[in-house]
Symmetry: C2
DNA sequence: GACACAACGTATCACCGATACCGAACGACT
DNA sequence: AGTCGTTCGGTATCGGTGATACGTTGTGTC
């Protein structure tokens, strides 16, 4: 048997804490229960994690990383937008399949504080968004796009977690995802056909102010738009 | 002096707890600190609120209701969509001006649980969304619209609260709001002129499927739309 | 082989949520 | 009117928690 290093102890504590979290919920994560389950004395936790909050942060990051590595087949698909969709879905899937860890990451909010695991997730998202921007498909700043996606995704997952499983809206995540994407991506969304009239109406409503078209063109355009709108 | 009823005691406890929450943060809300600040014995809390969680729920609802009554001038404007916007802004404003209460409402998430204050906010939102639907301006179900708005709004506020004040995106809320509204509302938003190119792009993207225009008309229309889009 | 230093384990502190139990005040019934 | 039952408020305390002081043991170094 090789020497038992500090990193081993740390890993063992995190494993025990994660198991305890799944088995007994968040309230079961007392320093005593964790130290007992890991076969360690309470002070060891404080030496390794400094604080109970430090321990919780570490447990959250541990669960998150563990999930990520278990899904490591998620590589880049070459299409940055598709990667963004996958990232969203992976995020939601993590939240729903390991709600205790997700809540640990995002749930106990305190003003001005972000858990390291949440920051990690945010950084991953940002790098994907940056690739979308480099592909020329972003229509807002990387900063804003990342924030919008992150905030919305978090809200959706927390909402789903808080909703009893039977009452959940199965399509909420997808709807929110496409809604946000339609806002941040350059306009290449698929034509649904059904909302074509709305687009025509919207365009027609703002037509008066433009100087791009001549009066005659505008009159004819308006007529066509009305036909599309009434179709 | 009139008789000191139980409801008075309850109110006094909630006031003291709310003050304590603002002054010392959430960790300061111990049963002992609250009971001492309210001039009451610890068991009284359990008689009135049953539980510490019950107390926290009551404090959250107290702070939320107090904020609502302080902003009671927010009546119906007659325009349901405008009311929805105001409701969103009021929600965000509450979260940012009283983050401790907001976090109490939404922050300590637990799987399958929703705080009464959050349910109250959700019910208010749903009634507004129902009025939007009655006005014929909703494009998805009331249920889905309400969930989408609520989840997104919550995500935005929690994100803002977690972000240090100096780094916050001042327009994040408005962007998210309009993004969600654009998804759930039927297309009759006011023309701002500046997003005319987007409308032209949107229309052009869906143009191929329509049989309302002749080929020649479509070619000319596409040309005009490109000019508008590039303006 | 002795020593300095770091890691470990015991014991304990102050505090927390929660409750059992007792006494007093109040109202109802005879 | 007097007794009694019931409900409410107060004392004291229980088990448990986060955190740490301090003695002890092991280890690497000179």
């Amino acid at each position: 048997m090789v020497t038992k290093t500090a990193v081993d102890t740390r890993e063992r504590i995190l494993e025990a804490a994660a198991a305890l979290l799944v088995a007994e919920g968040r309230d079961g994560l007392s320093t005593r229960a964790v130290s007992a389950a890991a076969g360690v004395q309470p002070p060891a936790l404080y030496r390794l994690f400094g604080d109970k909050d430090g321990l919780l942060d570490a447990v959250a990051a541990y669960g998150f990383d563990e999930y990520l590595t278990s899904k490591r087949e998620l590589g880049s698909t070459g299409d940055a937008v598709e990667d963004l969709r996958r990232g969203w879905d992976l995020h939601v899937e993590f939240g729903l399949s390991r709600p205790e860890f997700y809540v640990l990451m995002y749930g106990d909010a305190r003003p001005g504080r972000t858990s390291p695991a949440a920051r990690e997730a945010e950084a991953m998202l940002r790098s994907i968004v940056e690739r979308v921007a480099q592909a020329g498909r972003l229509r807002v700043s990387v900063e804003r796009a990342a924030r919008l996606v992150h905030a919305t995704g978090m809200g959706v997952v927390l909402n789903l977690i808080a909703t009893p499983e039977a009452e959940r809206d199965a399509e909420l995540s997808e709807t929110a995802r496409e809604t946000v994407l339609s806002r941040i991506l350059a306009g290449n969304e698929e034509p649904t056909g059904s909302d074509l009239p709305e687009r025509a109406i919207a365009l027609r409503a703002g037509l008066d102010g433009t100087a791009v078209l001549t009066d005659a063109e505008r009159v004819l355009l308006a007529e066509w738009l009305d036909r599309i709108a009434d179709a």
